[in-house]
Subunit: 344 residues, 2 copies
Amino acid sequence: MDRSPARVTLKDIARLAGVHPATASRALDPARGDMLTPETRDRVRRVAQEAGYHVNSFARSLRKNSSGMVGVVVADVANPFLPPILRGIEQIIRAEQKLLLIAETHDDGGTLLEIIDHFVARRVDAVILSAAHFGDEQAVASLAEKIPVVLAVRSVGSARFPTITHDDVLGGQLAAEHLVSLGHRDLAQLRGPMDVSSFRGREQGFAAVMSTTTARERFVDQSAAAPTVEEGRRLAEAILDAPGRHPTAFFAHNDLMAVGALEALRDRGLTCPRDISIVGYNDAPLSNHVNPPLTTVRLPSLELGRRVATLALAVIAGATTEPTIEKLPPELVIRQSTGAPSHP
Amino acid sequence: MDRSPARVTLKDIARLAGVHPATASRALDPARGDMLTPETRDRVRRVAQEAGYHVNSFARSLRKNSSGMVGVVVADVANPFLPPILRGIEQIIRAEQKLLLIAETHDDGGTLLEIIDHFVARRVDAVILSAAHFGDEQAVASLAEKIPVVLAVRSVGSARFPTITHDDVLGGQLAAEHLVSLGHRDLAQLRGPMDVSSFRGREQGFAAVMSTTTARERFVDQSAAAPTVEEGRRLAEAILDAPGRHPTAFFAHNDLMAVGALEALRDRGLTCPRDISIVGYNDAPLSNHVNPPLTTVRLPSLELGRRVATLALAVIAGATTEPTIEKLPPELVIRQSTGAPSHP
DNA sequence: TTGAAAGCGGTACCAG
DNA sequence: CTGGTACCGCTTTCAA
């Protein structure tokens, strides 16, 4: 396979069509095509077509100083709630003829910095960051000096940047209210990583409801290092194995963690929801098929993706970057992992 | 936010360091750094560091005619077996200081063509294609004339291109042998889209075993339009609602389809595995937590990602593109959705 | 409406 | 070891 057939350049097309490169450039640009005689334009286009011409996007980008790419930073592609967000973003971005550059941090600060460097070097038109931690404000600020940045899903704490998240506080409230209204009075949270705004919000929304009722929240001093099945199991075990009565309900900050808690129950001969009710978060795929089907909080992720991409486009276009922070409302999905406590 | 602080260029660094741009260029390139006096080199590097210099990758790429990016085409990011593959690819690619460009086809041929165009225009160094259909051979061939292409997961049928897949035929065999050895004699496949090599392979592996035993495979004329829960349910329903006795075992070409079949059983008051055993495929997240936990076929996906990326790198480096086709062996994971037939 | 020329920011080659 | 120079392919003034 000979792979360097000296690619066709604009000059070639110009020569073939008997015009100046500048003219060829105009003919091929839809926006400026009508500066030419239709004949010239069509001739050039036809020649380009036949010769299999493709612009060299480096040259174009170098000249225009814009890459036509939008960078997306996520913590972990494997997180099942991301795909709908990515899809929403992609729908909007592709409609603009731009391409998506996706990178993963694995929640590592150093990797985030590296990725930012890459994105800056590649002059992406904007960065959509959905992997922020509370500590990342500096890094984001310095990035934002160079490239438009939009925060998705997770905020950095302050409202310095345009941000679109799910309303995690409301989500935590919904979970708490549901459990309290079922009659639970002794509840515990299985908390996700506390340096991420999403989990912090859920924690606060939940706690806020607790403080206005006769129910009380079990003090748990640990939180998950990552929102995984293993960590959910670990936290649940710590609570279940503590001396004294166990709580009658768990609010897990994530469906995977909820599943981990389910495992811990099962190991101890407890059943859900008879002994302990569990609310998850995200409505991950198959969470309606685990045993028992999970009561959870569903997020408008596709919509979030679309909005965040639209916002990014607006910022690229130079819309005033009022640091809005918009929160999309979640929805409680009641299934079979929650019920009234059996010994109230 | 002023976003055009006239970015620092190599010329600026050269001026600041009192050297010629060409020298600055050499100082900043690790590969050519030792052509200079250590003092000059370090001075330039320090200046660059302090000034916050980043190469303009367009300029570099224009000159080098290489983008430093590898394009990955997938059918659907939401498919839960993709993340480990992507992770494997990313590990290898990032180690090479290259970036990943990810695009989705949604299994649409037109979209594939568009994406290919984008990738060609952006001069990605290589394309890793894991969204191929049997009909795509032409498109791939024409792409391969311009850019190194490596096929992942799905082949196009012929062995014209370097390809690394899972061994789907073996996977189908494992499923069939397992069910037959449990005593099943009347079995059916819930087939995935038949224009994708993976599903075709599974079908053939399964059928091959059938033909060497006394078991027989129920004729089912439909296959899934997409490997989803809904399609799995639809196919299962068609079989269950057909007149006469139903088979005692299903081989679903995908875990999601298996879950759909589970739904269909439940609706009809049948239970798994007592009435019908089900084998899934992929070992998707949570497939060990559905009810009952799925017997399935596990794929070495991370490994596949790593190999395919390594292969892509080799092809970029100009290694002879002998159109190898390598197949990674899957593994049967026995859980509780399979058992001996109750009325043999 | 079209052509000429300059330059985007680097890198590579040749000379010194 | 370093400087000079040309040029990668395209877009964009400015003139004609």
